[in-house]
């Protein structure tokens, strides 16, 4: 086992600022996408997960949402949504979005514009990471803390850090160096399904509990008859205690 013995969980606050770029039609959008800062792309796409952590269904990213709802070019908007959902970091996303817009004829790019007051104003987000003080030593502790953590903790480690360091996020690295590659895979794969953060939390925790149950069953299968009987008696005692004291969750 290598790597730092502890890993501190961090939450994050995004401070939003005007990016100084405003677009009126699809051609201006194409030109703006070539120069818009990475953090602005981040705010308008990945950032919406943190703005709507508990929604049943995420609204579209701000850019394709504007193309669909304001410019009312639904076909281009659909293709841009797909480009956003398929990219995990800024530059591939930028290239994919520009490619979609390049495929729209120039005359259509200028014809498809916003009504007065409907221009897309780009914003950018500065991150203020906040150490939570929760230091974990292994995978079990990580899940225990994540179960209770703010959505911004999930966002920071599973969405924002991979966006900034596409090769491998620090939490991913740490888990793998602590023999928890499978958990790392589950966490990061689930996080990149484009689901709302609360949904990601529920799925990861369900899967973790299911796997833990599997491990306990497997461990029990390898124990002696006496150990199994003893475990059964303890489980029965706990059940009876809970039935007699319904308010006592212990």
């Amino acid at each position: 086992m290598t790597g730092a013995p502890e890993f501190e969980l961090v939450s994050v606050v995004h401070l939003v600022r005007p990016a100084g770029i405003e677009v009126h039609d699809l051609e201006e959008l194409r030109q703006a996408l070539e120069r818009v800062p990475e953090r602005a792309l981040f705010h308008h796409t990945a950032g919406r997960l943190l703005r709507h952590p508990a929604t049943d269904e995420l609204p579209p990213d701000d850019i394709s949402g504007w193309v669909a709802g304001v410019v009312q070019d639904r076909e281009t908007a659909e293709r841009m949504s797909f480009a956003v959902e398929s990219s995990r970091s800024a530059e591939p996303m930028r290239a994919a979005l520009i490619e979609v817009l390049n495929s729209v004829p120039l005359k259509d790019r200028t014809a498809h514009d916003a009504p007065p007051g409907g221009d897309l104003v780009f914003l950018t987000a500065e991150s203020v990471p906040i150490p939570t003080g929760d230091r974990i030593q292994d995978a079990r502790e990580l899940i225990e803390h994540l179960a209770e953590a703010d959505a911004s903790v999930w966002f920071y480690h599973l969405i924002e850090q991979p966006w900034s360091s596409p090769d491998r996020a620090p939490l991913d690295d740490w888990l793998r160096s602590h023999g928890a590659a499978r958990l790392a895979e589950t966490l990061f794969q689930t996080a990149h399904t484009g689901r709302p953060l609360e949904d990601i939390r529920q799925r990861v925790l369900r899967r973790w509990r299911f796997n833990r149950l599997g491990q306990r069953v497997a461990a029990a299968a390898g124990s002696t008859e006496k150990e199994r009987l003893e475990a059964g008696r303890e489980a029965m005692t706990r059940l009876v205690r809970r039935m007699n004291q319904p308010g006592d969750e212990t």
Partner: protein
């Protein structure tokens, strides 16, 4: 000039907010506050009572102290002449009519200079609210301090004369904060966007029992029909006449009762004029009730919003329109104009319905009245949207984050 003593009795705000938004966001707030515990924060505005800013400060100052960030609140006062100038300044910054006298500029700065001598501004972090005390930074900034200007008003149509009065001061701040991107003037100072927020624990927004609501609304004798309600002062920009027209169109299709509830117009000549126009437009209709409420009728407004089937905010122009968040927090179906800060609160078809015309408003009233599932779905999502984005702890968190950033924390 005075220091405001914030009430600290009653249960801890932090516990109340924790019960509303959960432990996670409060822990983030506490984590941020821990990083600023050795700093002293001073808030400054120009009134301790009345108005949204004072209302927010009473809560925020107490909350920040509970979090361990030592925070005091200073109020800058003036004389009638100063208030006359700041009233003109306020109106002109909103783009309304008004004219400064030739020596107003000097007097405005003179009062600020005097305030700079008298106010306790020895904190590490100074948060100045709105234009009246903006020049304090010119007269009182000390080395090592970080000054932040929080502008609560819409500057998108600011008159040049008014902006010129405060722009040189604003340029001296380390950062400025605005409620909405459209309100940000051309400015070299780094600007952040921090939307305002509502207090879920206040009389205007707290949960009410059925008995309380019955008692609060009983004097108005409103009929047992679905209520369509707009709560706004009688101001042309809130378009109360347009609300009556939209309701009349909708009534051709559905049965409902319109409630227009606004502040008392006794001390506002224009308000009285608008109220008269609305009354004339609604003349002879027994399906419209116009209520003129006193400024402290928070519980009545709360009950009205909670008992309404639909809440409207059909404004022609808006600042942020927190009445929208208030109604969303109460799980109401909200139909509102796509102006100012409203589209941040109403995500069309998800947390509410945006309209751009009288006919559009009438159509959405009809549609929402006919569809309880639509109202339930939008109401549920609207409440969560407000919980995540428009409650006081989020605003407190954002201010602390701006200060953390100014102090060099962050990426």
């Amino acid at each position: 000039m005075s220091l405001v003593a914030v009430r600290e009795d009653g249960p801890a705000l932090l516990d109340g907010y924790r019960a509303v938004i959960g432990d996670g966001p409060i822990r983030t707030l506490e984590g941020l506050a821990r990083r600023l515990r050795d700093r002293r924060l001073v808030m400054v505005n120009s009134t301790a009572t009345g108005g949204g800013v004072a209302e927010i400060l009473h809560r925020l100052v107490r909350l920040l102290n509970e979090l361990g960030v030592s925070t005091s609140w200073e109020v800058m006062s003036g004389d009638p002449r100063f208030y006359g100038i700041t009233k003109t300044l306020h109106n002109r910054l909103h783009g309304a009519a008004g004219k400064f006298q030739h020596d107003d500029y000097d007097y405005f700065h003179e009062v600020n200079r005097r305030a700079a001598r008298e106010l306790q501004l020895d904190g590490d972090l100074i948060l100045i609210h709105d234009p009246q005390p903006a020049p304090l930074v010119q007269h009182r900034r000390r080395p090592g301090q970080h000054w932040l200007w929080r502008c609560h008003i819409d500057l998108s149509r600011a008159g040049e004369d008014a902006w010129d009065l405060i722009a040189p001061s604003v340029a001296l701040y380390d950062s400025a904060v605005f409620s909405h991107v459209e309100f940000v003037p051309p400015l070299a100072t780094p600007s952040y966007l921090v939307p305002p927020s509502i207090d879920p624990l206040s009389d205007k927004n707290r949960e009410l029992s059925d008995e309380e609501m019955d008692a609060l609304l009983e004097p108005f004798d409103l009929p047992r029909k679905p209520w369509v309600t707009q709560v706004s002062r009688f101001d042309r920009l809130k378009d109360p006449v347009g609300v009556v027209d939209a309701f009349k169109l909708a009534r051709r299709q559905v049965d409902a009762h319109l409630v227009l509830a606004g502040g008392s117009a006794d001390d506002d000549p224009e308000g009285a004029e608008v109220l008269a126009e609305v009354q004339a437009r609604a003349h002879g209709r027994n399906d419209i009730t116009i209520l003129s409420l006193p400024p402290d009728a928070h519980l009545v407004i709360n009950a009205l919003q909670r008992r309404s089937t639909i809440v409207l905010q059909k404004s022609l122009r808006e600042g942020f329109a927190l009445t929208v968040s208030e109604a969303l927090w109460k799980r109401r179906a909200v139909i509102a104009s796509a102006v100012g800060g409203i589209p941040l609160q109403i995500l069309h078809e998800r947390t509410g319905l945006l309209t751009r015309s009288i006919e559009g408003c009438a159509y959405q009233i009809t549609r929402a009245l006919r569809s309880p599932p639509l109202r339930r779905r939008m109401g549920a999502e609207g409440r969560e949207h407000v919980r995540d984005n428009f409650l006081h702890p989020r605003e407190a968190r954002d201010y602390l984050a701006v200060f953390a950033r100014l102090l060099g924390m962050g990426v």
